[in-house]
Amino acid sequence: MKKFLTFLLVMVSAVFLMTACSQKAEEKAAEAPAENTEAAAPAASTEPIKIGVAGAHSGDLASYGLPTVNAVKLYVDEVNKNGGIDGRMVELYIEDDVCKPEVATNTASKLVSEKVVAVVGHICSGATKAALGIYKDAGILVISPSATNPELTQSGEYPNFLRTIAPDDAQARLEVDFAINTLNIKKFAVLHDKGDYGKGLAEFAKSFLEATGNGVEVVLYEGVTPGAVDYSAVVQKIGRSGAEAVIFGGYHPEASKIVTQMRKKQINIPFISDDGVKDDTFIKVAGEFAEGVYATGPVDTSSNPINIKAVEDHKAAYQADPGAFFINGYAATMALLNAIDKADSTDYDAVSKALRTEYVETPLGNISFDEKGDAIGVGFSMYQVQNGAYVELK
């Protein structure tokens, strides 16, 4: 009986604890509307501006999400050091979504509960789509540094969504045009990694190629299994199909495996891929076999002074080179804070309007956003690996 009493005690205290926790949360929620009314009161407000940062910060895709966190932190620290925006400090709420749709909805509702004004993120298109519905109803702006799925902007379903990266179809278009016009290739093998990003891109490339006519044909269209131990069967199939070039949609781990095995099997046709491959890790991993590989990527802005400064800050703060989408994340934060500054408020409509009308100097150049939410002034160009580094082809 004594044991049972202890158990009961534990249960009761657990219940109390949980209630206490949620009560705390409730208090927070109760405070929040008060803050909002204050925020609406003009100018004099000193309440912090709350910005959410969401993306994959753990798990196997963490390396795509963490650079954006660093970027936002760096820029926001700088803004706060210089007195904030109109005297208001910027406060960050950093939440992980592991790039999974079901976790992303939790992340989104958490950020909504925290009453953030806007969100920089999410990283993966799938997670972004799942989260956007919640943000849309709550009237929160979302600026993604890396979600490239065309539907996000082109469907018109998500007026609260903007991005500082060009959509997939623009990239596929560039790959196809480059291959046909510059390399004069007629027969293509289109491969993808069966993923959200890679397959979407490959589908576009395939449909663009098929629409070209003029003897251009897709002789092979296949998905490879990401993480498989060996791709030689697919590589043999490429060899047999008589393709004159490979267009690959996906990320660098699979790309480097395929390229390496192709070259080892004496299949020396051009390999054209996307910005998931335009990553220095690809060159490190594929080594000598990376030479000559084409990849599209955001227009080179590494000579842009803001870009140089951002990268230098990152090196000073973390003793390492920034990772994927760092610049896009940095630009997204700059554009967002600039818009809040120009709008003199955190009101959804005002900020949304400012984002679409004001131009801002960012590491990506002078950018603004169009009605659909795609960035104006952000484009792709073609790169090639030459002597162990990506070189932009003009």
């Binding site: 753990s58 799942a130 397959k199 589908e203």
Partner: protein, 409 residues
């Protein structure tokens, strides 16, 4: 005492050796530099030293208690006390019910959202509990039925605009059909062969969804799925979240009721008999095929229902949500909770789903803690949080209790 210290010291040295290359050396293969992180070695050493002491203490406690007090515990262990003592049981239930019903009114949207997810996993756990806990069929591909439910709502909503309530029974029925389709060929298989075939089946479903673009829109998934409607009311986001919470809560209650009734029904007893001894079960005149198929079909139906709810909740589905890890987590809920025990499954689902959410503060470490606690939990409480009470028998003759009851879990 000295001996204990020596043992811990050896453990500490062993772990320092074990973790040396991975924890201490970090090589930058590009610049060909090595970073030596000696401080990690010290942490590991100290951690392992004290860890091993705690480990042995827990182990001692476990074996000690289970040898001496097992009879006593069986007689008036806490679970028995709860179940036997109706008064306490009802009070507890009343508290729990009051809490769950009042929950949305004393918390914010985020809390409601994760609680809804946790309740969904309660239902999934109870569904899988029918297959694994009651009928003893190890199913590693349970998530396939979840996917069937989710995609039936997503597709029917996308193409024909069917609403949540119309699809709910359809999703359940489709999942049940898949359960039977899978059930037939694998009836002959036992134990681990069954496990791998169900795992394969789960993967096949996911791969088909991933590759068959024309049917399922491939990996980019289906977005803009309608949230459930309630009596034609127009709800804003937080209201519809609350409504969804009550919906899932209702589901969980119905499921608990159903599974509880099933357990004590004719078919439920047949499942238990099947789990304990297939041959004896057959000899008693139980139709093995029918019994197994019902288990599969019923388990799948719950997953189908929850799949529909899942699609309605996230308003977006893609194949990435239905990986093997998901099956493993649902299975972990069943086993951690205590196979066949309803209360255990509920507790385990709440812990396993809410823990990672509340561990967000340690976002980097949370999966590490999650994996580690799964191991520890199993080592120190292999029968699960709350082992199934129904099946404990006490023999009056002495010396029968010890080992026998230990095995009869």
């Amino acid at each position: 005492m000295l001996n204990e210290l020596k043992k811990s010291l050896i453990t500490a040295v062993w772990f320092m050796f074990l973790t040396f290359p991975i924890m201490v050396i970090k090589v930058n293969t590009v610049y060909n530099t090595i970073v030596w992180r000696w401080h990690n070695l010290i942490y590991i050493g100290v951690g392992a030293f004290f860890g091993s002491m705690i480990w042995r203490w827990l182990h001692y406690k476990k074996t000690h208690i289970s040898e001496r007090n097992i009879r006593e515990r069986l007689k008036n262990g806490l679970q028995n006390a709860i179940v036997d003592n109706k008064k306490v049981l009802y009070t507890l239930i009343a508290v729990a019910v009051a809490f769950t019903f009042a929950f949305p009114h004393m918390s914010n949207a985020y809390q409601i959202n994760i609680m809804t997810t946790a309740l969904m996993y309660v239902v999934l756990g109870l569904g899988l509990n029918i297959v694994v806990g009651l009928a003893g069929l190890l199913d590693l591909g349970y998530v396939a039925f979840y996917a069937v439910g989710a995609y039936s709502y997503a597709l029917l909503n996308h193409h024909f605009g069917l609403g949540f309530w119309a699809v709910l029974p359809i999703g359940g029925a489709l999942a049940m059909m898949f359960g039977i389709i899978l059930g037939f060929p694998v009836l002959r298989l036992r134990g681990d062969y069954l496990a791998i075939v169900t795992l394969g089946f789960g993967e096949i479903i996911r791969l088909v969804l991933e590759n068959w673009n024309a049917f399922s829109f491939g990996p980019s998934g289906i977005s803009g799925i309608d949230r459930p409607s309630f009596f034609g009311l127009t709800l804003n986001l937080s209201q519809s979240m609350t409504a969804l919470y009550y919906l899932v809560l209702g589901f969980a209650v119905i499921t608990i009721f159903c599974v509880n009734r099933l357990q004590n029904s004719r078919i439920g007893r047949a499942w238990l008999a099947l789990r304990e001894d297939e041959i004896a079960c057959q000899a008693m005149g139980i139709d093995k095929t029918k019994t197994k198929l019902t288990a599969f079909a019923l388990g799948a139906t719950w997953a189908g229902f929850m799949g529909v709810v899942f699609a309605a909740k996230t308003t977006f589905v893609n194949p990435a949500s239905f990986t093997f890890l998901e099956s493993a987590i649902i299975l972990a809920i069943v086993v951690l909770g205590g196979m066949g025990s309803i209360l255990g499954v509920i507790l385990a689902a709440l812990i396993l789903i809410l823990l990672p959410e509340y561990l967000r503060a340690f976002s980097e470490l949370r999966m590490l803690i999650f994996g580690g606690s799964m191991v520890l939990m199993m080592v120190f409480r292999p029968q699960g949080l709350i082992s199934n009470v129904r099946r404990k028998y006490l023999f009056d003759k002495m010396n029968f209790g010890g080992e026998k009851t230990n095995e009869a879990k």
